[in-house]
Each structure stands twice: as structure tokens, then as C-alpha cells.
């Protein structure tokens, strides 16, 4: 089963595609394939965030090239004075003063990030074979040696503060590149997030551009049944940020909002549907955080759906 899926993907994606809509479609297909092959995974995050990551990697982010897909290095050691840090940021290319940085906060989106990097031509698609395997850096919860990650963010809501420090440091060095941050909406339940927003506004760090996947779903279920964060835009504006609330599946709107200079730390609240593109997931509501098939029958319906997606992809 697994080999069959991978074989089909290799056939389809021998040449990387970079148009955002193709990246987004590819993200959903790859994550669904992975979930089918492993009887589980973070599928709803792919459905909600596919366009966000596609727009960033495919259009907005000004990153240097990796000169083709990179192979993830095996795990060697945790950072110490004897073993230097290995940064997943290498998949974003060599940093430069005028280039953008991209800090990913919700480490639980790792599979989705890996899929997006593959679609963007920055990560070897064989990397997913190492996903959650012992001795691999392609971890289930992204670590800072995992492709695309450059900070330790599995304890949520810490990346925004670190990104603020990075942006402040870049300003001190007169660098002109922007610092983008990808966040999940649940992180706005943590107090640290608001400490960070207040500091970003106080220091007028308008080079920080945050895109939030507002999918209104978290581990225990719908956010409103866990702890409401709304009115999020009003709160952020009151803290001194600029805010756009938009349809997180609209590529044109996303790109425009992410690029729009505002003179303030900027938050793009991308309202998304965690079942988008995989309508079968609606049967799973209200709990969408992690998909594990409950029966062979359920799994086979996802398999049929996946094969339909492949056919559509081949016809594009």
C-alpha cells in the first residue's frame, strides 16, 4: 500500500510545481497519502493550512534557492557546546540581509510543512519515508533540526517571541528582510502570545508579519468548546497590531494581505475550514485534531477519495 502510494507520487511530481494552487493541492494529496499509509495523521491541519503555506512558499517569501530538493540529514545529537545546532532553516536557503525569514510556530503541523516544502521543490519527497522514524530529523512534532523549522516550538506560543528577537536583531544590523511567522489560533490562548504582541507593537517591529491559521479546532475539539479567543482581530488591534481577517483559502487575498505594508506588526487572520478539500472529514466533527481510522470501511472510503484526487491531479 505504502509503496504503491509513494510510487504514484514520484511519477506525478518528478518535476516540482510552484504555483500556489498546485502546491496547496499537492499538500493535501501528500498528507492524505501519508495518513492512509500510516493509519493516522494530522490531516485537518493540511486542509486548513494548505493555501497559507502554498502562498508563502510559492509567492510571498523572498528566500534564496536551495538549488533543488535537499535531503534531510539523520539525527546526530541535540545542541550543546560540542555539537552545533542543526537548523531546519537550511530548507529555506541561505539567509541574507534583504531576504525574508520564516519561523513556524505550531510544530504539530510538521507533516503539512514537510509536504509544502516538497511541493515547493525544497525538500526531497523521500523525506516523508523518514517521518516519525527512529533516528530521523523528520519528526512528528517538528524540532529545530526538522525541515522548515528553525526554533524549538512544540511547546506552543514561544516562536512569536523568538521571532520578535530575531526581527529586533535584524533591525540592529540594518537588515531589510521581513520576518514571517506562521501560527495556529490555539496559541492565542497562551499568555505569552499577548506579551509578544505587546512587545512587537512597543518596538514597532513592522517587519514581523504573522499568518494565523484560524481553523477554530484544537485538540479537545472546537475552540469555542475549549476556550474562546474571539474577537481576535479586535484584541490584536487594541494591542497595537494591524490586522486583516480574510478567507484563508483565497490565494489572491492571502498574498495581498501578507505583502501589504502597514507600519505595524501585521497579523493576517486566515479563517479556514479544517475539512477543506477532504469533505469526508466532516463526518469527524467536532473533533478534527488527529485522524485515526476507526474501521476498514472508513479507511477504504478515504482511499477511494484519494484515488479520485490523483486522477484530478493527473488531468490538471
Amino acid at each position: 500500500m505504502r509503496d504503491k502510494v509513494v510510487g504514484q507520487l514520484i511519477t506525478l511530481y518528478a518535476v516540482p510545481v510552484t504555483e500556489p494552487q498546485d502546491i496547496a493541492a499537492g499538500v493535501r494529496r501528500r498528507v492524505l497519502a501519508h495518513v492512509l499509509a500510516n493509519n493516522g495523521g494530522y490531516l485537518s491541519q493540511a486542509c486548513s493550512a494548505a493555501e497559507l503555506l502554498a502562498v508563502l512558499y510559492g509567492r510571498v517569501l523572498n528566500l534564496s534557492s536551495t538549488d533543488g530538493p535537499l535531503h534531510p540529514s539523520p539525527f546526530e545529537a541535540v545542541p550543546s557546546s560540542d555539537t552545533p545546532r542543526i537548523s531546519g532553516g537550511v530548507f529555506h536557503g541561505e539567509p541574507g540581509p534583504d531576504l525574508d525569514r520564516f519561523i513556524i510556530s505550531p510544530a504539530h503541523y510538521a507533516l503539512v510543512v514537510y509536504a509544502a516544502l516538497i511541493e515547493a521543490g525544497r525538500l526531497d519527497e523521500a523525506a516523508l519515508d523518514q517521518f516519525n522514524k527512529d533516528g530521523s530529523t523528520v519528526e512528528m512534532i517538528g524540532a529545530e533540526h526538522s525541515p522548515g523549522f528553525e526554533t524549538t516550538t512544540g511547546s506552543l506560543a514561544q516562536a512569536l517571541s523568538t521571532a520578535g528577537g530575531i526581527a529586533l536583531g535584524r533591525r540592529l544590523k540594518n537588515e531589510t528582510g521581513r520576518t514571517f511567522v506562521f501560527m495556529s489560533d490555539g496559541e492565542f490562548q497562551e499568555g505569552q502570545t499577548w506579551e509578544a504582541v505587546q512587545a512587537l507593537a512597543y518596538y514597532r517591529l513592522d517587519s514581523v508579519r504573522v499568518v494565523v491559521d484560524v481553523n477554530r479546532a484544537q485538540c479537545d475539539g472546537p475552540m469555542d468548546s475549549v476556550m474562546s479567543i474571539e474577537p481576535l482581530a479586535t484584541k490584536l488591534k487594541a494591542f497595537g497590531a494591524s490586522v486583516d481577517s480574510i478567507d484563508g483559502h483565497n490565494i489572491t487575498t492571502l498574498a495581498h494581505s501578507l505583502e501589504r505594508p502597514t507600519g505595524k506588526p501585521h497579523f493576517v487572520l486566515a479563517y479556514t475550514d479544517p475539512t477543506r478539500g477532504v469533505p469526508l472529514l466532516n463526518e469527524r466533527r467536532p473533533v478534527l485534531h488527529y485522524l485515526r481510522f476507526t474501521s476498514d470501511e472508513e479507511r477504504s472510503r478515504y482511499q477511494v477519495f484519494y484515488e479520485e484526487l490523483l486522477t484530478e491531479g493527473a488531468q490538471r
Binding site: 528577537g165 544590523k173 505587546q198
Partner: protein, 348 residues
């Protein structure tokens, strides 16, 4: 060996020293959480306003910003009270700074019972918590010379450093030309000719309790006790071979004195070394005995919790199981810093 009768007092040694030291280090930035003057960096802020960042009372975020600045090649020196560096933001300290082994310097003021601020302001478990954090280096200052020279030691370390810092009126116990050296104990008293000479009692002290021990050691010597006294200023790493040699040479008792709970700090580090090296003398730990303290003057708390010079006498008597005929009047006089001193900007 310093006589406690003529210890010079240095007022706010960190203030000018840190300004001078930073002058040729543009990568050094300071982050503060609304305790700028209380941590003696108000003048630093006014001298280098472009590299001073007020982060407000928001320590979790401050530690994250520090991690980001360190990733960009800066060397953040965080100045706040010790309790606010490791209690509230422990997860941020571990994930945003310690795991990636970033060069962030955490300058923690008010170690242990040096403040009348009570339980909320007294860092009595910081060494224990910090010792459990991989990649962390822990330094503790015991006098003005160490307050001044700890900067170079921390600066040279590739990774995060936590400093137990003193402020206000600080005694100069050690010569200015004998700076702080990483992971090297200071020999203050030797029982014999060398560190390996047989010793009745080995006293290992850190921080402000070294001053207390210095008041008591002459009385112990006069009572005929062969004492070796080492001052410990690096709590992690704790691998100085001289400490292991002194432990091996001790026959009567090993006594540790720390301005900290006896769980997880200097006493525990010594116990680990003794167990690992097979040292056999009984260990007596002077420190807070698994208790919080409360708001009162340093002198009062030292007496109340048996952390003072006379406690070293009593502990030695218990350890050697004999009376030494010493009473409090035989000890060098107590140096009492005023609770409301002009050397401090606030009463804490």
C-alpha cells in the same frame, strides 16, 4: 586569607564595571523587566540606550526575545531578580534558550535570603532547578571581585549562563588581581601543606555564606580543628579536581554552606562528587532545610535559619562529636548591611 575585621566594602560594583566592560563589546545588549535600577543597570541604559531594551513585566516573552537576539549574533544580558528568570518562565528558559544552547546571560539578583522581599523574591531553589537544565552553566558571586570578574567568565562560555549576582554594598573578600576562574575553587584556608594533606574538617561555601564561614574558621583553628576552606563559585560544571582531592583528604567531616535549600544546590553537588569518587567522611549541609523563608533582614534570616557563622561552629561540634568551647563573642564581628541602604534604590 582575609581578616574579617578589615574587609573593604564596595558600593554597587556592577554599575560602573559593567559599563566599562561593555564598551568594546557591541554585541552585548541588555534586556530588563521593569527592575532596571534595582538590578544596577540604570546607568548602563543611559550610557548605551541603543542596546538597552525594556521588556516590561513579561518575562516569558523576554526570554524568547533573548533567544531570538542570540540567534542573530547578539549576546543578551538579562537583568532581573533571580526568581523571575527560572520560576515563571521555566519552559521558555528551557525551550527558547537552553535547548538550542544560546549565548544568553541570565543575571539573577537577590539570591536566597539576601532580600527582605519574602518568599516571592527569594530565589532559594534556583541552583537546584538550573542544575537540572542541560547546557546551563551556573556561576555564583561571593564578593565584589567576583561580581566584576564573572563578566569575562560568562562571556567566554558557548551556551547559556546563569549568574547569582550581588548588588548594593558588597564586601571585597578576594584580591582584585585574583579573578573568578571557571570551575576552580578558591583555597581560603588549608589544614596542611597541600590540598592533599589530612584534614579534620573540609568546609565548602558559596555566595554570601563564604563571608560567614570566614568569620568562623579562625575560631575553629584556635580550637585545634584542622580546617580546609574552599570557596565555590562555579556550581555547574562541578568538576574541579581540587575539590575531589580535598574531599579525599578529609577524615572528620565535610560541611557545605549555601544560601539556598540543601536540596539540589552546593550540598547536593558535593554529595554527588563524594559518592562518585568514594570519599567517605560524613557530609553536613548548612542551608535552608527544605523550607521557604519569609520577609526579614539578611542578618535576621541568617540566624533564624542557622546559616550564619555560628552555625558552622555548632555543625562542626556535632560532626566531630565534641565541644569546642567557642561562643559567639569569639567570632569575627558581623557586617550588617542596612536593610534600607543608600546603596539600594528600593527597600527590597
Amino acid at each position: 586569607m582575609t581578616s574579617m575585621r578589615d574587609v573593604p566594602i564596595v558600593t554597587r560594583p556592577h554599575v560602573e564595571n559593567f559599563i566599562r566592560w561593555s564598551a568594546d563589546k557591541p554585541e552585548v545588549v541588555v534586556l530588563s523587566a521593569d527592575l532596571t535600577n534595582s538590578c544596577e543597570v540604570g546607568k548602563w541604559r543611559d550610557t548605551y540606550p541603543e542596546r538597552f531594551f525594556s521588556m516590561g513585566m513579561a518575562e516569558q516573552n523576554m526570554l524568547g526575545f533573548a533567544g531570538g537576539l542570540a540567534r542573530e549574533g547578539f549576546e543578551p544580558w538579562l537583568h532581573t531578580f533571580a526568581v523571575f528568570l527560572y520560576r515563571r518562565p521555566l519552559d521558555q528558559l528551557q525551550m527558547s534558550i537552553a535547548y538550542p544552547n544560546l549565548k544568553v546571560r541570565l543575571v539573577g539578583f537577590l539570591p536566597g535570603i539576601t532580600t527582605p522581599g519574602g518568599v516571592t523574591h527569594q530565589a532559594i531553589d534556583d541552583v537546584a532547578v538550573m542544575r537540572a537544565i542541560p547546557n546551563m552553566t551556573i556561576l555564583e558571586t561571593g564578593d565584589a571581585t567576583e561580581v566584576e570578574s564573572v563578566l569575562d567568565v560568562a562571556h567566554a562560555i558557548d551556551g547559556p549562563v546563569y549568574i547569582r549576582m550581588l548588588r548594593g554594598e558588597v564586601p571585597r573578600l578576594f584580591p582584585e588581581n585574583e579573578p573568578f576562574v571557571l570551575d576552580r575553587a578558591r583555597v581560603l584556608t588549608l589544614a596542611g601543606d597541600t590540598i592533599d594533606s589530612p584534614t579534620d574538617v573540609l568546609v565548602l561555601t558559596s555566595g554570601i555564606l563564604t563571608e560567614e564561614a570566614l568569620r568562623a574558621v579562625p575560631a575553629l583553628q584556635e580550637a585545634g580543628v584542622a580546617v580546609t576552606h574552599l570557596h565555590i563559585s562555579t556550581l555547574k560544571p562541578f568538576t574541579d579536581p581540587m575539590v575531589a582531592r580535598a574531599l579525599a583528604a578529609t577524615t572528620g567531616a565535610v560541611i557545605t554552606m549555601e544560601n539556598h535549600t540543601i536540596t539540589g544546590g552546593l550540598g547536593s553537588a558535593v554529595a554527588e562528587t563524594m559518592a562518585e569518587t568514594g570519599a567517605t567522611a560524613p557530609l553536613h549541609r548548612i542551608g535552608l532545610k527544605d523550607t521557604y523563608a519569609h520577609g526579614a533582614s539578611q542578618a535576621h534570616l541568617l540566624r533564624e535559619y542557622d546559616l550564619d557563622a555560628f552555625s558552622l561552629i555548632r555543625t562542626t561540634e556535632v560532626a566531630l562529636d565534641r565541644s569546642l568551647g567557642i561562643d559567639a563573642a569569639d567570632l569575627a564581628p558581623v557586617r550588617i548591611a542596612a536593610t534600607h541602604s543608600a546603596a539600594k534604590v528600593e527597600a527590597l
